[in-house]
Every structure is written in C-alpha cells, then in structure tokens.
C-alpha cells in the first residue's frame, strides 16, 4: 500500500500534524487567492443581485430555473464522493480507504454547504429562506410535505447533519493527537474538541460500534438525497425531465462526479501537503477502476434515457430530445458525452490509470462534463415545454457565470481552512494499515 516503504507510528503523527501545524507563505497566498475569488466572484455579484433583484440573472418567464439550480445539483452531486464512499468502504472493510477518506468526507461537507448557498442565491429574497423550513408561519400554516422541495430540505439537512457527525466522530482520536502535540490555546481547544479522549479500549470499542452505525445510516441516506434532488425535476410533467430513470441517473452521476472530485483533491493533497507516502498508486488504481465502472453505468443510463424518450413516441418528448441533441445547446451535450463517456475509457489503460497527472486531467474533464450535464438538464427542458408559444430561451448572465466561478473559490477556501484544523489524513486509521512492531523483528 505504501509506495515509499512503511512509515512508523511516530512518522504518521509527525507527517500529518506537520501539515496542520506548519504553515508556509504558499498556503497564505493560496488562501488569499481563494478568499478573493469567493469574495469578488461569488459574494459581490450576489449582493448586486440582492440589490437589483433576480432580474440580474438570465432567468425569464419560460425559464425560471437556471444556472443556480444546475450548480446546486452539481455541488450536491460532488458531495456524494466522501461520506457515501467512505461509509461503503468502511462497511466492506477496504483498507485502502483509510488514507483518503477524511479529505473525501470534508469534500462532502463543503460541497453541501456550497450547494446550500446556491439555494439561497436562487430564492432571491434570501431573508425569507426560513419559509422552506419545517416550521409554521404566523397563521399556523406549515409547509406542504407533499412537495419535492420539502423532501429536499429534509434530505439535505439530514445529510449535512449526518455527514458532519460522521467526519467529526472519526476525527476525535486525531484531535487527541493534536492536543498532545500542541501547547497553549490550541491545546485547550483540542482538549475540548476531543472530549478528553484517552484512547482506552472502551472508548475505541464504543467508537467502532457507533462509527459502523453512522456508516449504515449514511449509505441509504446518501442514495436518498440525490434521488430526492432528481424528483425536483422528475415529479414535474415537463418533457425531458419526467423520467422514472432520473433517480438512479442522478445517484450514479453524483457518485461519478464525486469520485472524480476525490482524485482531484488527492492530487492536491499529495502535491501540496506532501502526502506521497500515504496516498499512492494503490489509491489511484482503485479510484481509476471505480471511475471506469461508474462511467459505464452512467453511459448506459444515458442511452436508456434517449431510448425511452424515443420509444415512448410522445411528440413533446421527441421535440425535447431533438432540441437536446441538435438544438442550440447540442455542442454542450456532445461535450458532456465526450468527457463523461469516452475520455474515462482511457483509464482502461494502466498507463493512464497510474499516472497522477493524466488522472488529474481526466478527473477535471469528468467534472466539467458533469457540470455541463446538470446545466443541460435545466436549460434544455423547462424553456422548451409542450407548445411553441411556451418556448423560451435561457442564457446565463454574467452574474450567474461569476457566481458559478466564485463557488469554486468558496469551496477551496473552506477546504484550505479545514486542512489547518483537522488532520487531512486519519492518523489512527493509517496506523491500522501498518504492520505492528514486533520484538523479534
């Protein structure tokens, strides 16, 4: 599992804690850049939109859903990497997960937060966002729990809560390691964070059981979250959206883009935090194989979607299909097919699968393709429904494009703050993968 020989327990503590406790100018420059991108590209245009109204976005009468919602789906999808994959690999006792799962779970958390921001941007009058919470208004009227939007609220808040608890509880023993290696205020803070953890057999035993139950709860939850997001669309009767295949399509796409996201993040951790010792070829190889499998499933579902639209014979569905394949946004559709169905096939070759640089490029292309997929779902369906008099056209405005770019800055900022507060690699779980020191060795 280790490309550079097996480290000692002490090495693991030293290497992982160094990534938290030693901060160079490169980190501050990077953080400054991401904060600036988030501030200038996300928050300033958002405040501008709050000031002038949602007309600043490109949405219009026949296209009331736009880039904000396609980005919302994208970020929710990206969140399916960490917690779900981590939980599945924990249940199946896959040891290779141990070096990568902490950062993958952090990705989940920050993707969800970014996705939630897009809901707030989309609703326009954000100060009324509490209307979507399950609380009654001043007349005692509750939100309608039959609405897929309420399903969304319940699913996403549950997912955010469960993911936060999952990552936090997995980090408690490592917070104790940080406490023991630090002094002053940091020591006091981590004493609180780790709940006074000592690493007794009883504590490990209880954590092991609790963690397994968290994983058991999280797996069906993650599947339900993206199914529910798909129902925001599929439970409408809009041609191009009203498909029974949408739930598995969304879940598969979410895991696909999330896994590609993990490859991108692992590349950065290796490169910038010097985790070459812990994140090696075995991780790349396994993630590559997983991506190939997901890409094939995703392609199959896409073919099925086209087939069922065509085979159904409904003129409205056929028109939506024709617009998607040959209309204004057709180049984006074919770009998506190229990046998500054909480019990943390169990973069938070991030369590509075991090269960090090539895998970085492939993973980014997959996520560009997935971002496009979500845009196509929104932009080619709702503005083209039923009769031509209801046809509209949607083109994102500069505000929407800027906010989209800024969301990546926001995600990166959260991640950069995370790696200075939480060990990016699970110290104790990496130790579990090492051969124990023996007196006779």
């Amino acid at each position: 599992m280790f490309d550079h020989g097996q480290p000692s327990y002490e090495d693991v503590n030293k290497d992982v804690l160094a990534s938290m406790l030693e901060t160079g100018p490169r980190y501050w420059m990077l953080l400054g850049t991401t904060v600036s991108v988030a501030g200038i590209c996300f928050f300033m245009p958002w405040f501008y939109q709050l000031f002038v109204g949602v007309g600043a976005a490109g949405m219009n009468r026949n296209a009331v859903w736009g880039t904000y919602l396609s980005n919302f789906i994208f970020w929710i999808g990206l969140s399916h990497s960490g917690t779900l994959l981590s939980a599945v690999l924990h249940i199946t006792n896959s040891h290779w997960r141990k070096s990568i799962y902490r950062s993958a779970e952090a990705m989940t958390l920050f993707s969800l937060m970014t996705a939630a921001m897009f809901v707030m941007v989309h609703v326009g009058r954000v100060w009324f966002v509490h209307w979507s919470f399950p609380i009654p208004n001043q007349m005692g009227l509750w939100p309608n729990f039959r609405s897929p939007l309420m399903f969304d609220v319940m699913a996403i808040t549950t997912y955010l809560t469960a993911s936060s608890i999952f990552i936090y509880m997995g980090s408690v023993p490592d917070f104790a390691a940080v406490r023991d290696a630090s002094t002053g205020i940091r020591r006091r803070l981590y004493t609180i964070f780790c709940f006074g953890w000592r690493g007794t057999a009883r504590e490990w035993h209880t954590l092991g059981w609790a963690y397994t139950f968290f994983a058991v709860f999280v797996i069906p939850l993650a599947v339900s979250v993206h199914s529910i997001v798909s129902w925001d669309f599929a439970l409408s009767i809009v041609p191009g959206l009203h498909h029974t295949i949408f739930a598995p399509y969304f879940v598969c796409g979410a895991i696909y883009s999330g896994t590609a996201g993990i490859v991108t993040v692992m590349y950065c951790l290796r490169k910038f935090l010097h985790f070459e010792k812990y994140i090696g070829q075995v991780h790349l190889d396994n993630l590559g194989k997983l991506l190939i499998a997901l890409s094939l499933i995703w392609s199959y579902i896409n073919i099925l979607e086209l087939f069922s639209s065509w085979y159904g014979g409904s003129s409205f569905e056929l028109e939506a299909l024709k617009f998607r394949l040959t209309g204004f946004y057709a180049p984006l559709y074919w770009e998506m097919i190229l990046f998500c169905a054909f480019v990943p096939l390169l990973m069938l070759f070991k030369k590509f699968r075991l090269s960090w640089n090539k895998m970085l490029v492939i993973s980014i292309l997959i996520n560009i393709g997935m971002l496009t997929e979500r845009f196509i779902i929104v932009a080619t369906s709702q503005p083209r429904k039923f009769l031509p008099d209801a046809f509209g056209f949607y083109l994102p405005s500069w505000v929407e494009i800027s906010i989209t770019v800024g969301s990546f800055g926001m995600f990166a900022t959260l991640f950069l703050i995370f790696i200075k507060w939480v060990p990016a690699i699970s110290i104790y779980e990496v130790k579990e993968t090492l051969k124990p020191l023996r007196r006779d060795a």
């Binding site: 327990y9 509750w142 509880m169 023991d180 007794t200 009883r202 069906p220």
Partner: protein, 168 residues
C-alpha cells in the same frame, strides 16, 4: 493511586493486560494509539449497547417523521382535487429521512453515554499513547496490590512505569 506502564510492543502490552486480568485486577484501562480488538477481548467487551440507541433513534425518528408530515396536514386541512389529506407515498419520504436523522443523533448520544465522554477531568494518561506507546493503567491499586501490578507490568516488558495519584 494508579500504576501505569508504557509498552513499545503491542504483544507485550497485551500479555501484561492478560496477566493483570488473570491475577485478579479488575480496574484496568488499556490505552492505545489505534483500536485493538485483542485489547477489547481481554476486557471482555462484547456487543456495545450503542446499537440499542441506534434502534431507538430510528424507531422514534420514523414515528416522529410521519407524525410531522401527517400532523401538520391535519392542523390546516387543505383538500386538493379530492385527494386524501394524509397521503402515504410522499410522507414516507419524510418518515425515511427522519428515521435516519434521529438514528444518527441517538447513536451520537449513545456514544457519549457509553464511552463516558466528554471526560475533561484528570485521568491517568501518557501523551505518547496517542503516538506509538501502548499503556496499561491499573487504577485503585494500593500498597501490596500496586507492587504486584508493577511487577507484572515490568515482567511483561514495559519501558516506562509510573505511579500517579488519581482524584476519585
């Protein structure tokens, strides 16, 4: 009074724990930088009661999820197209999510109750236990008992032995 012994080797640590246990010492804590199933077996830790919290949380969650969806529909009755006021399929989604939410929250509660954490009071501890040392702690050993415990720990190969006062 507590006797602590730190070991560099997992095997010595487990041998010390087993010897202490077979010599009649009951109040033993085994500290390690990673989870060790063998240590849990020495202490006879079987199935954790955490699972009962998870089950209770899931059941309460399911009931409260359905009660939330159905109850709020009954608070303000709004008939639509002659459909039932309490509609089972959509309410199952809310029930499902609440099952998981409360299942997770109760598991968290169970973890805290069963493990006894948070525990910020002073307890016998060596910071090296979070790095690479395996530590056996015998609590409540005084006089001759403490000497016996120390002898067992020393014989097993401890490279550091400490006697510490514990606030009871």
């Amino acid at each position: 009074m507590a006797v602590m012994g730190a070991f560099a080797y997992e095997e010595d640590f487990l041998a010390a724990a087993e010897n202490l246990k077979s010599s009649g010492f009951e109040n033993i804590s085994l500290l390690s930088p990673l989870p060790l199933e063998e240590a849990q077996e020495v202490l006879g830790l079987g199935k954790s009661p955490v699972r009962r919290f998870s089950l209770a949380g899931a059941i309460i969650g399911a009931m409260s999820g359905f009660a939330l969806a159905a109850g709020t529909a009954l608070v303000f009755v709004l008939p639509t197209g002659g459909r039932a006021i309490i509609t089972i399929p959509p309410y199952m989604v809310i029930t499902y999510e609440m099952t998981i939410l409360l299942g997770v929250l109760f598991t968290l509660l169970g973890f805290h109750i069963v493990s006894g954490l948070p525990a910020w009071h002073d307890a016998p501890y060596l910071p090296s236990a979070s790095v690479d040392r395996f530590v056996v702690v015998v609590e409540g050993a005084t006089g001759e008992q403490a000497v016996r415990a120390e002898a067992i720990i020393r014989q097993a190969g401890a490279d550091e032995i400490k006697h510490v006062e514990v606030d009871q």
